[in-house]
Symmetry: C2
Subunit: 339 residues, 2 copies
């Protein structure tokens, strides 16, 4: 024991990491039991929260202590309180409630992929059959469209304001793999002269159309059913949105699509890509970099691409220039590529 304390090896990180699955389960349980909502309503002791959520007091104490250790709650004198993040995203009464996103993020498609990680590392792609999540018309994307919309509300508004800050001219916009449709819809609500065409599987577009209706932009919203790789886009678009799409494919496949995207743009048109973009070191920022794990385990050849890699794909597809834009406070980034 002559080494200084800081240089003593500790099994702490091993223990935390091997048990990290408990964190996922605890968050899922807390959302299912409405713990954050109960605290937001003013229940602050384990006994009060347990009564509101119809659980044992002991179980609720253990769960709330663990949520505190995970920094999703605070605890002072036996009373729990929401953090700013929890109040914003985990209390059901908040308009930015993200609890529904667990339907997608914890769907067997994604968690089963992660469970076969060693095999995915061996193969260099998902160990799941039928190409994981990128198989044709995969039902997970309807789940995605319904579950992830709340998580996309803020980012979609930030992207629209970044790309169309003045919102003062007519825009013809193609939203590729629109999903819930929120990115296109946010351009339409941001600019009353924006007209959106959304591309996705038929069942997914039903969700997007519902959302366009709710947002009051259905009269400027049309759809093209099918795979972005197969359908006719038409031409003359001022903007083409590629949000959370390229990461599912290898660079060659991306370039094929980007050539088609470029051909559909009007002169002076721009492709707008939203992605998890790690730095060149591929380990920072941590959330963007770690996204590569989800792609490795759930797609045959997807990845979290660096800006240099994306820039090269766009250049190879004939785009003249790409620029990089962080999108705080989200954990994603925007690439704007000029035809």
């Amino acid at each position: 024991m002559s080494m200084p304390a800081a240089q003593q090896p500790s099994p702490q990180l091993f223990f935390q990491t091997i048990n990290a699955h408990q964190r996922t389960e605890a968050l899922k349980a807390a959302l299912e039991l409405e713990v954050f909502t109960a605290i937001g309503e003013g229940n602050t002791t384990a006994a009060e929260i347990a009564k509101r959520c119809q659980t044992s007091e002991k179980g609720m104490r253990v769960l709330c202590d663990f949520l505190t250790i995970m920094e999703m709650l605070t605890k002072q004198g036996g009373r729990y309180a929401l953090t700013l993040d929890s109040a914003t995203f985990l209390d059901k009464r908040s308009p930015a409630y993200l609890g529904g996103a667990t339907e997608f993020l914890c769907s067997p498609m994604l968690t089963d992929g992660a469970k076969h990680m060693a095999e995915a590392v061996r193969k260099g792609g998902t160990a799941l059959e039928n190409d994981g999540t990128v198989g044709p018309d995969h039902p997970v994307w309807v789940k995605f469209a319904r579950a992830m919309a709340p998580m996309m509300a803020l980012p979609s508004q930030l992207v629209a304001k970044l790309v169309d800050p003045n919102a003062d001219r007519k825009l013809k916009i193609l939203d590729i793999a629109a999903g819930h449709g929120l990115y296109g819809i946010s351009f339409a609500t941001n600019n009353s002269q924006a007209e959106i065409t959304a591309v996705d599987w038929k069942a997914v577009l039903e969700v997007a159309k519902e959302n366009a209706q709710k947002a009051g932009v259905a009269d400027r919203y049309s759809t093209i059913e099918g795979s972005a790789f197969d359908v006719e886009f038409g031409t003359g678009y001022d903007l083409i949105l590629l949000t959370n799409f390229l990461h599912h494919f290898d660079p060659t496949t991306c370039e094929t699509l980007l050539r088609k995207v470029r051909a559909a743009l009007a002169d002076g048109g721009r492709a707008v890509t939203l992605e998890f973009v790690p730095n060149d070191d591929r380990v920072t920022p941590p959330d963007a970099a770690a996204f590569s794990v989800m792609m490795l385990t759930s797609t045959p050849s997807g990845d979290a691409y660096t800006f240099a890699e994306l820039e090269r794909m766009f250049a190879n597809a004939g785009f003249s220039r790409s620029t990089f834009h962080p999108l705080p406070p989200t954990i994603q980034q925007v690439i704007i590529s000029e035809k």
Copy 2:
């Protein structure tokens, strides 16, 4: 966007936590593929490590980047290196290799318990049938005895030195729920006059006896087969070891056992308890406090007890005085209770 950046809500922690199960899977995959061992052997690029571990280069790059994000590796100029912790605990060639502990920590008994967390919170104890891990003669404890021994090597030596620093007198020691037997065995290797009697299920004691043989102390090692609650301990023990045992039971059950323990001690004898002991706030230190989640989800009424709670149990059982001893660099603590 007029709020200062530090006060903007971010979905980062939600996203990290809902995906935390990937951390468990990545560590399991890295151990299965011998990634840490490969790096310890001198393979430092993704291509070199992939070749050694017979995986795709891309998959290995994604895995090693994720291990770097998790601070289990470092990365500089595309070359990965082990941290002090990884070199000590995760390289198979290290005597302190902990990889085998995943056999127990990731056994379905523990992970299935965690998967039913909401139900465990409702009940206040495991949602698994047959009382989870504390059912009679449960086979998980043979797995535990084999898998966890390496993780216990350092703590068991530290406990022996803490309790018997001079190692200069005859000691009669009872090791309750001995498991792998390492705690008792470390007292025997630390002090050549120590004689150990180990209590556990018959199949588990086979593992303990093997370990006593390997440590060269088999001639001072005897066993009592059965439940610690049922068997006759005998009397006149100088030390009775309760390592990682009390957390499986409710306080009343613990007190019943502690009365029996006290009766088996010689005058001046001591009970030595090793536990995950949270502070009174129950949220620090994080690893000891978080252990309550494993007990909630895998036992009917276990918990991570505070020192105040343990002190009360020992006092109620007739012990005169209990003292608290941290055991750095482990994440556990020792309570020494005097008859």
